[in-house]
Every structure is written in structure tokens, then in C-alpha cells.
């Protein structure tokens, strides 16, 4: 199976004020694969994926140098539109964050803002997205209820469905299971596996087993640097760097 690259970073550096949170990261993210970023807390992995759809724009003290290319275009170019980028590169957050609207309205939100008004089409998109997120059977009878009444795991899958409804190319997941129980986690992991048929997934996790289970490629980050990046089996079985090996084998972190 040949791999094409969808996102490339070159010498990416990010500062929060004086703090260099991401240091000289260069990597190539393969298309329609699951890429995991692991590393101890505070190593910059969440900060790194928030660069991929420019969510860090919301932090005023944040400064970036280097390049991130999406399909060969620099997403930090002056004329790049963050709104357009986020439409193609969606994100699922650590804490499930459904809007205080009904289940239906949560999923329909994205298509609506992108100009779809036809009720029938919206219904289709909502159903398809919820099915893809393996949530349809659980919520089909409660479409008009508040999304805040769902369980944590359901809320997170709803957030994934909401992201799918926009039909992005890439889905960023920032520790999507850290607030969930093992059963809900297993459901999300299964879901991630099915998503890679159609989407590129980049997942940040501090659960190494999770990275090993769901990803095709894994990057290990430490103190803002990308220490090692390669096929998941290689990272976990034959790491090239001592730091990686120490982390994988549980000697720190």
C-alpha cells in the first residue's frame, strides 16, 4: 500500500510568550491513516495538533514560525483562510463539548453554516453522520432532546458525528477518550478504525496502549521536540531512540 502525504510540517516552532512549546518539528502525516502522537503531559502534543487547524489563533500570546502544508499549501500563509482550513481539518476535543442544542441541531450545525438549508438533505446528513459515528441506534428516538443529556461517551461520539457532518478530510482528536470509561473508550477506538477508510485521523493520547491499538504511525514527543516518528509497530517494538524506548517501557513519564 503506497502512502500519500496530506500534511507536512517543516521546522515548526511555537511560542506561548517566551515558552517554546513546539520545537523544530518536521513530519509528514500520511493520508487516510491514523497517526498517533504520544508523550508525557506537557510535551506539546496537543499544542502541535492545534496548529494543524489553526486553533491556536485563539490564544493571543501565541507565535509560530516554520511551515505547515496541507495538500502542499501553507496554512499559515497570509492569504490562507482559517475558516476554510477548519472546515477541511476538523477537531474533536478532550472534553466532549456538544452545543447546548438538541442532538439533531448539534449535527446539523456544520452543514447549516456551510449553506445547506434543505430539510431533507439535512436529515440525510444527520443520519449518515450519526451512523458513521456509531451513535444512530442510541439516539434515533431522542433527536429533539438536549445533547447535554447524553452520557459522556455518547456526547463524544456526537462531537465526532458533528465533525463528520462537515465532511472534512482530516480529523484531529485531542485525547478524545481521556474523559471516558473503558467501554466508551473501546467504542471510540473501534470508530477511529472505521474512520480511516475515508478520513485522515491524527490523535493525541497519553495512553500508549491506545496508540498501539489504533494507529498506523506514531510520533513520540518530549519537551516540545518530535523525538521519533515512524510506523507504530516500529516505535513500540524497535524504537530507534533511547528516549522513546525509556518512555515506552515505562522508565519515565
Amino acid at each position: 500500500m503506497s502512502e500519500t502525504t496530506i500534511i507536512t510540517t517543516e521546522n515548526l516552532n511555537l511560542w506561548y510568550g517566551e515558552n517554546n512549546a513546539v520545537v523544530d518539528v518536521s513530519m509528514q502525516i500520511p493520508d487516510r491513516r491514523v497517526t498517533a502522537l504520544i508523550g508525557p503531559s506537557g510535551c506539546g502534543k496537543s499544542t502541535l495538533i492545534r496548529c494543524f487547524n489553526r486553533m491556536n489563533d485563539l490564544v493571543s500570546s501565541c507565535r509560530i514560525s516554520g511551515r505547515i502544508e496541507f495538500h502542499g499549501n501553507n496554512i499559515y500563509a497570509k492569504d490562507a483562510d482559517p475558516v476554510e482550513i477548519r472546515r477541511k481539518i476538523g477537531m474533536v476535543f478532550q472534553k466532549p463539548n456538544p452545543f447546548p442544542k438538541s442532538v439533531y441541531e448539534n449535527v446539523a450545525y456544520g452543514p447549516r453554516i456551510h449553506g445547506i438549508k434543505d430539510k431533507k438533505r439535512l436529515d440525510e446528513i444527520v443520519e449518515r453522520s450519526l451512523r458513521s459515528a456509531a451513535l444512530w441506534d442510541e439516539v434515533r428516538g431522542r433527536m429533539d432532546e438536549s445533547a447535554l443529556g447524553l452520557s459522556g461517551g455518547q456526547q463524544q461520539r456526537l462531537c465526532i458525528a458533528r465533525t463528520l457532518a462537515v465532511e472534512p478530510e482530516v480529523i484531529l482528536m485531542d485525547e478524545p477518550c481521556s474523559a471516558l470509561d473503558p467501554i466508551a473508550t473501546a467504542k471510540i477506538e473501534k470508530l477511529i478504525d472505521s474512520l480511516k477508510q475515508q478520513y485522515t485521523v491524527i490523535i493525541v493520547t497519553h495512553n500508549m496502549q491506545q496508540a498501539a491499538r489504533v494507529s498506523d504511525k506514531t510520533g513520540f514527543m518530549y519537551l516540545g521536540k518530535l523525538i521519533e516518528f515512524g510506523p507504530t509497530s516500529q516505535i513500540f517494538e524497535h524504537p530507534q531512540e533511547d528516549l522513546t524506548e525509556n518512555y515506552i517501557t515505562g522508565r519515565f513519564g
Partner: protein
């Protein structure tokens, strides 16, 4: 911990709880007393001429032969003045709130927010004074009418006065919508404006509704500014949309006539009847607001099983109407708007409704999200510019004309020649006494009640009653407090017109503000933080005192700021309870009347010709005192608000 310590602690826990409970109960007792005394004094008029005749009679002429006590035109005038004021203030207020909460760069926000709060601090009598000397003149000249004292002048002032309330509360609501919502929406490729209009604003809807209601309450219950600029002719504008007609509101009537009426006469009772009607109108506003708010809350909150309680049990009928309304929301709202516009402007109004409908229906689809954002953001910026311009014009006019008359003598000497010469020292001191006394009474009770309501209760029936009472007290117009103070404190308790009567009346007036803002502040402290403290073995009160209260200080201070501003500037509640116009002496006891700055300005502006300089100078001093209070509080609040971010 030894057993004895445990016992002592649980005893003090109970003691603390009881104290807060009593504070909360106080609000109920007050509202009961206010009702009791107003109805007691109003009853004779209803008996004498009948409720229906009183309400529907079109002539109000209590001093004529025979006297006529019909308040229909006063009711209509009150509604019209409020309606036009809101038509101006709501769009401006929400636009400004959105600008401050979401668009303003940090530096701009840092001075725009205090500026808006400052606007809230400008006393109503200063607005009235400005309206009387500047706004009415402007209206008279630019519309070429015989007098500028009109409905329009009143509504413009009311709009300006309601704006800070609307802006502050709505801005808070938008800013406190969880950051996760914003991130979630942006991550789906929504523009900033789409995020604001479709996620943040709906999430903040209950707060924005509250903001509007508070604004309406402020406008409907305002006395002094309206009284000074609306001409006070008890007529119904003809045609009904003639904004250049003079009007006389319910509040204005009370303000003008209460001081000159013999206690116990038919006219006296008729005025209490007016107060009852005014109170009922504001109660209706408040009740409908509370119902709306609760409905919104229930829609957004998790299903009832997890516990968000309803404040008022809605009957099945209302429930069904609610469902019907939600299902047909758009046509109903448009229909309503068409009817209102038709009522005001006839066929032209229908035309306007049609054009608006077509515009809303067909234009948005043709504008790209990016352009929609540009247009929306420009409008929001325009709103804040208009608001700041209003503030700027008022301050500029008063300062440039008043400062030259300020002198050491003016500040330190008593007035002479009916305020045309001499100074205003007794008024300054009197206002200080009134502020200190009323805040000293209201602050502990208010904070205690808020602590009880938010921390100790699980929404039982009693709490429902207490909270409703607070809501009602909050919507009660200041002039009604004045009447209550007069009937209860001055007459019934025989305090006479005195400092203490004024302090208590003012304290009652600001109590709900303090309770409400404190409650809001306490609620922003996340539950897990409380649980964290309780899980360490801290008692309830320890948790409240050490974990919940400190981060709430900024919010409580905001409430106190607003209260001080109101107390220092309010005229209506002290009009009949505490003040005299001109005295050479400071009060030597709590039972003597005092001079007060707002009242002094009111009398100077309306009753003393050839005192322009003294008027402006008094306005400057009044403004200066309010601004000083505000500045101190804003600085303190800013310091602590940097410390706490959840």
C-alpha cells in the same frame, strides 16, 4: 478532630445557616410590607370610584372641579415610553455587548467596559437635567415643534439609561458562554460571526433575556429623567405614533404630585392607586420574564431527572401553548411584528414589515459568510460608537459648563438665596450619609440572602417564594419604594422626613441588585471546586468562606458598584422620605432631614431660574462623587479578576 470540636463546628454551621436564612427571609417580608402598605393606602380610591373607572377613565385631573381620577392615558404613556426606549436600546445594547465580549481588542475592552459602567453610574437626575437643557432644545429646533418636552425626549433618555444594564448583563452572559462551544464551532469551519450568532448568543440567551428585562424594568420604573423631559401633559399621543407629543407617565405623576398632596385625601389614595397599577405592570413584566427565562433554562439544561428545577409550575395549557409556539415560531413572530408595525404606522407599517421579511428571507443566502461577518461586525462596532458618543456628549456638556463654577467656596459652604449662591456642602454630606447608611444595611443582608439561596438550598417551595420575592423587589420602580418609605417609615412609624427613613428606603431599593449579582458571582464558581474542598473534610461554611467567596468578590463588587451608583444618584425614593431643598445645617441625628445632591439638582433645574452655573456645578459634583466610587471599585475588581480564571 475531637468530638467536642466536631460538635462546636456543627453548631456554628447551623448558626451560620440560620443567619443567612433570615437574610433571605427579609426580602420576602419586605415585599409583603410594600404590598400591604400600598394596597392599604390605595384601597379607598378603588372603593370610591371603582377599579374599572380608575383604570379606564381618560381624564386625570385630581385638582379640578369635580376632580377626575382616570389613569388610562398615564398607563398608555408609560407603555409607549418604554416601548420606544427599548426599540432604541435593545439593538444598540446587544450590538455593543457582542462587540465588547467578542470583538474588542484587549486594550479597547479594558477601557470600554468601565466606560459603559460609568454610563450606568450617571444619576437619572443628571440625565434629566441634560435632557431638559440640551436634548429638549435640540428636539424643539430640529423638528420645529413648540416644545421639546416630548415622548421622544423621554424615550431617548430612557434608552440611554437602560443601555448600561443591557450591555453589562448581556456582555457577561456572552463572555461566560463556555470556551468549548466557541472552539467546537470554529473547528467545524464556522466563521467567527456564525459562531457568535448561532452558538454563543443562543447559549447566552437566558442572560441576554435577563438583560433586556432588567432594561425594561429600569425604563418602565424610571421617574426623574422622564418627569423632567416629557412635558407631563396627561394626554394620549394623537396619532398614537406621534413621538413629538408630550406624555405623562405613571411614575411622573407620582413624582410631581406626591409631595403636594394632603395625607389621607382622595387624591392621596388615588396616587397610591397609581403606584399599585405601576407595580402590577412591572410585576407582569417580571413574571413573564421569569417564565421565559425558566423555559429557556429547561430547554438547554439536561432532562428534568437530573435536577434543574422549575421556578413556577407551568400548567399543561401553557406547556401546550409553548410547544405550539416553538413549532410555529417564525410565522408567529413575523405576524406579531406586522401587527405592531401596522398599529403604529398603518399601511406603511405593513409595507415595512413586508420589506423586512423579504430582506431577512432572501438576502442572507446571497451574502457570503465572510461578507455577513463584515457587515455584522461593522454594525456591532457602530453600536458601541453610538453608545460611547452619547456618554461623551453628556459628559462633555456637563463638564465644560460646570467646571468653571466649581470653587472651594461652592464645595464647603451652605447654599443661600435658594441655591443661586453659596455652596452645596450640606447636600454633599447628606448624600454621603445616605450612601453609607443604605449600603451598610443592604450589603450584609444581600450577601447573606444570596449565600443562602445559592449554597444552602435545593430549590424547595420556600426558596421559590424567596427568590420570587427578590425578583419582584428587583422590578419594583424606585418611586414605589419612595411611596412605601413615606407611608411606612415616615407616617406609620413616625420617623418623619429623616435621614434614617431615606437610608432604609434606599437600602430596600438596592437589596435585590446586591442579592442578584452576588448569586450570579457565586454560581460562576464551578461545583467541582466546592466538591474538592468538601472532600478534604472542610465544612460547608468553611468551603463557602475560603473557596467560594474569594473568587466571587469581583462579582459582588460589581453589584455593590451598581448599587452605590444608584443610591448616590437616586432622587425618587428620597423625594418624600429624607430630603429638604435648602438648609444651612448638617443633620445632627438620624431623625433629621438632609439635603442631597440629586434632589438639589432636581429642584435647581426645575424650580430655580437664573441658576444655570449652580445647576451645572451641582451636576459636576454629583457626577464626580459617583465616578470616584466607581473608579475605586473598578480598580479593585480588575485586580481580583486577573487572579481568578476557571
Amino acid at each position: 478532630m475531637s468530638d467536642r470540636q466536631a460538635v462546636r463546628r456543627s453548631r456554628s454551621e447551623i448558626g451560620v445557616r440560620v443567619v443567612w436564612f433570615l437574610c433571605a427571609l427579609f426580602a420576602v417580608i419586605t415585599i409583603f410590607f410594600i404590598f400591604a402598605f400600598l394596597f392599604y393606602d390605595a384601597y379607598p380610591i378603588f372603593e370610591e370610584i371603582g377599579v374599572w373607572n380608575f383604570l379606564s377613565g381618560s381624564v386625570w385631573n385630581p385638582t379640578g372641579f369635580p376632580p377626575a381620577y382616570g389613569i388610562y392615558s398615564l398607563i398608555v404613556a408609560t407603555l409607549l415610553a418604554t416601548f420606544l426606549a427599548m426599540a432604541i436600546a435593545i439593538p444598540l445594547g446587544i450590538g455593543s455587548a457582542i462587540y465588547i465580549a467578542e470583538l474588542a481588542p484587549y486594550r479597547v475592552k479594558a477601557w470600554v467596559k468601565p466606560a459603559v459602567e460609568l454610563l450606568a453610574g450617571i444619576p437619572s437626575v443628571v440625565f434629566g437635567f441634560f435632557g431638559l437643557v440640551v436634548l429638549t432644545t435640540w428636539i424643539r429646533v430640529s423638528f420645529d415643534v413648540p416644545t421639546g418636552e416630548t415622548w421622544l425626549a423621554g424615550s431617548i433618555l430612557l434608552a440611554i439609561m437602560a443601555l448600561p444594564t443591557i450591555i453589562s448583563v448581556a456582555e457577561d452572559a456572552i463572555s461566560s458562554a463556555p470556551r468549548e462551544y466557541k472552539e467546537g464551532s470554529l473547528a467545524l469551519g464556522a466563521t467567527h460571526w456564525q459562531t457568535i450568532s448561532r452558538v454563543l448568543t443562543p447559549a447566552a440567551l437566558s442572560g441576554i433575556t435577563a438583560a433586556i428585562i432588567l432594561g425594561i424594568g429600569r425604563a418602565a420604573g424610571e421617574t426623574m429623567a422622564v418627569l423632567m423631559v416629557t412635558g407631563n401633559a396627561p394626554v394620549i399621543p394623537d396619532p398614537i405614533w406621534d413621538v413629538l407629543s408630550p406624555i405623562r407617565t405613571l411614575t411622573g405623576t407620582l413624582g410631581i404630585e406626591m409631595g403636594e398632596v394632603p395625607v389621607g385625601s382622595t387624591h392621596y389614595h388615588a396616587l397610591f392607586g397609581v403606584a399599585v397599577v405601576l407595580l402590577v405592570i412591572t410585576l407582569i413584566i417580571n413574571f413573564s420574564a421569569t417564565i421565559i427565562l425558566n423555559r429557556i433554562k429547561r430547554q438547554q439544561a439536561p432532562p428534568a431527572s437530573t435536577g434543574i428545577p422549575r421556578r413556577f409550575p407551568l400548567t399543561g395549557w401553557m406547556e401546550r401553548q409553548g410547544i405550539f409556539f416553538r413549532a410555529h415560531r417564525t410565522p408567529i413572530l413575523w405576524g406579531l411584528m406586522a401587527v405592531v408595525l401596522f398599529a403604529f404606522f398603518g399601511l406603511t407599517g405593513l409595507g415595512i414589515a413586508l420589506v423586512l421579511y423579504l430582506a431577512v428571507r432572501y438576502i442572507p443566502g446571497r451574502i457570503s459568510p465572510r461578507w455577513a461577518q463584515r457587515i455584522a461586525f461593522s454594525l456591532a462596532a457602530l453600536c458601541i460608537v453610538v453608545v460611547l458618543l452619547a456618554l461623551g456628549i453628556i459628559l462633555y456638556d456637563i463638564l465644560t459648563k460646570g467646571l468653571p463654577y466649581i470653587s472651594w467656596e461652592f464645595l464647603t459652604e451652605p447654599p443661600s438665596n435658594l441655591g443661586r449662591s453659596g455652596g452645596i456642602l450640606p447636600a454633599i454630606v447628606g448624600t454621603m450619609y445616605l450612601v453609607m447608611g443604605s449600603i451598610a444595611i443592604a450589603l450584609p443582608i444581600g450577601i447573606g440572602a444570596a449565600i443562602y439561596l445559592t449554597e444552602y438550598t435545593s430549590e424547595g417551595r420556600l426558596v421559590g417564594i424567596i427568590r420570587t420575592a427578590t425578583d419582584l423587589l428587583n422590578g419594583t420602580p424606585s418611586i414605589v419604594f419612595g411611596l412605601f418609605g413615606f407611608a411606612f417609615l415616615v407616617i406609620y412609624l413616625s420617623f418623619g422626613v429623616s435621614l434614617i427613613a431615606g437610608q432604609i428606603t434606599l437600602a430596600l431599593m438596592v437589596l435585590p441588585t446586591i442579592i442578584r449579582t452576588t448569586e450570579e458571582a457565586l454560581k460562576t464558581v464551578p461545583v467541582p471546586v466546592r466538591e474538592g474542598s468538601l472532600a478534604l473534610g472542610a465544612s460547608k461554611w468553611q468551603t463557602i468562606r475560603r473557596v467560594v467567596l474569594p473568587p466571587s468578590v469581583p462579582g459582588i463588587l460589581t453589584g455593590t458598584i451598581l448599587s452605590i451608583g444608584r443610591v448616590a444618584g437616586e432622587t425618587a425614593p428620597i423625594l418624600f422620605t429624607a430630603v429638604v431643598f435648602s438648609t444651612r445645617f448638617l443633620p445632627s441625628s438620624l431623625f433629621e432631614p438632609v439635603m442631597a445632591l440629586p434632589y438639589h439638582l432636581y429642584i435647581l433645574a426645575t424650580n430655580v431660574p437664573n441658576a444655570t452655573g449652580q445647576q451645572y456645578a451641582t451636576a459636576v459634583v454629583l457626577l464626580g462623587i459617583v465616578i470616584a466610587f466607581y473608579a475605586i471599585a473598578i480598580v479593585i475588581r480588575h485586580r481580583s479578576s486577573v487572579k481568578y480564571r476557571w
